[in-house]
Amino acid sequence: MSDGADRRLHPATILLRFVKEGPSLLALPAGLAFASRTGLSGALALAALLVALLLAAKWVAWRRFRYGVGPAEIVIESGVLHRNRRSIPFDRIQDVDIERSFLARLFGLAKVRIETGAGGKDEGLLDSVSLAEAYRLRETVRARRTDAAPAEAADESPALFAMDVPRLLLFGLFSFSLVYIAGLFALLQTFDRFLPFDIYDPARWVGLVGEYLPHRWTLGAIAGVLIVAALLGSAAGILRTLARDFGFRLSLEGERFRRERGLLTRSEVVIARRRVQLAQVQTGPLRGSFGWSGLSFQTLGAGTDASGLQGAAPFATRAEIEAVLAEAPPLRLPPPPELARVSRRHILRSAAARLGPALAAILALSAWERAALLLLALLPLLAVAAALDRRFHLYALADDLLFVARGYWRRRLWLVPVKNVQSLSLSRGPIQRRLGLATLAIDTAGASLLNSPRIVDLRSDVAEALAAEISRRRQAQPLLRMSGKPVAHPE
């Protein structure tokens, strides 16, 4: 084959992928066995055929996938019919991420992701190679980069932030979640025909509760159900947190943050310091009152989760967050008095925005159950919620940083260096125009649609002045390109 691409993925990859994809494939013969009269032998034959086909396909894909380390680049050749040869120059490689899922660990494998500046997800994915090979690749890349920092061993750099088990348990407790119980019910629903009873038979559930509790639906019974739900929710939160964040460790190696975490799936992610676009601090009413919050970075390119953020310190005290931010200048936390509130009329708009859905829900309910109309008495609570919206929607422009805080339940605080602002948008809807308000949206690289800083309902003239000031301060900054992408060629 062509020069450079002289290596293959680890052969166990075939098995690994087979184990991953096999079960969903077997749903077809299983369904067939149930639905038709071909019987067990027919289904088994079909299953065997599918297994053989899948194994063959995986084997061909493995045969046709080659990679190698050239003099100045990493070369990846892939594709069964349509051959694709990709070369990634060492200078463009930001770093090499290593992820090990539970299955991969059983096989002694690791998934290697070669991170470059571009946003594509699968730019340089080697799924999977042996762990030793993964480390070798990383060392090779680090050694060959022209701007390579002096090589440091991973274990030598001190932790900037780490979480021990007690901290994780506490974090899990605050990550209370009923979603998983809902998931369990969804699963039951899928398999309900295999269950010996009908899970949708209310009499059965009431009867069950009635067996254990002397009086039906007394306050005590309701409290009991709530307590059980709370316990289950907490347990789900703790389990999920332990699985995801066990052994969480953030360290700084030269110009890069390195994050390791995970119990079953162990992942190692590297965030280049100069690619951090902004930081976000998240907390909630309960967590916040105990002084806990989480810090995430928004970076360019692949490897971020759905929100476009990388958790850097998911459950930390203010001092710990400040310590991490100190390593990512110019980011810092705002001293509280620096923040200003948006216009008072935000309360009006916010209440109006909540009123519509609430009214619709109540009316829909009342068509079914007349008593739901009593809920209308709760509508004034919306005014309270709207007032809280404004109380927790704060902003400030301090030197070269823009701060935006928003949300009561989900409290988010964005720290945006003005030099990373990609564009500013002032928008005024019909109602906002009547009230003399405007919304300022700040666009940054790598932001997600729903998780992007916006200052909603500023007074029009204030919003305009703020936009002009951000723009002025941005220009006053020394020109420093923060994006990893090169200046592209027009046309």
Binding site: L424, L426, G429, R481
Partner: protein
């Protein structure tokens, strides 16, 4: 703010008329097809469709056209648009990733083209400025290109 070329107004009228005409045609066909079974009086579908046609082809385009405007002052491009929700966007030119000048067949016939700025941002990764004459668009593109090049790579 500089208004856009009148060609854009014509383009909006043509597009609005095309959409409106399709709607009117659909309404008329439905009307004829349902003549026997429908309890609605004659014209109950076509008349509103005609009103929508008038809105799309006659009334809305000038308003939308007037809402557009742009200004380039050295370091940034400002674009204003929107009738109901008015949006005013500021694009720092040194952050522009690349620039397209694009022209569809209809635009070509009307002698206008669009300038598309690509930024690294996600919400407005493309800022489109339609309705520029070819000369203006190319001049702006060259000007922005020098802004991008001024900084150290």
């Amino acid at each position: 703010m500089t208004p856009l070329d009148r060609g854009l107004l014509r383009l909006m009228r043509i597009r609005g008329a095309a959409t409106g005409a399709a709607l009117v045609a659909a309404a008329a066909v439905a009307e004829v097809a349902l003549r026997e079974s429908s309890p609605l009086p004659w014209g109950a579908l076509t008349a509103p469709a005609l009103l929508i046609f008038a809105y799309l082809a006659v009334w809305a385009p000038p308003r939308r056209y007037r809402a557009w405007g742009y200004r380039m002052d050295g370091e940034e491009l400002r674009v204003r648009r929107g009738v109901w929700t008015r949006v005013h966007t500021l694009v720092p030119l040194d952050h522009v990733q690349h620039i397209d000048v694009s022209q569809g067949p209809l635009e070509r016939a009307l002698g206008i083209c669009s300038l598309v700025l690509h930024t690294a941002g996600t919400l407005h990764s493309q800022i489109v400025l339609p309705g520029l004459t070819r000369d203006t668009a190319e001049r702006m593109r060259d000007e922005i290109r020098t802004r991008i090049r001024e900084e150290p790579a």
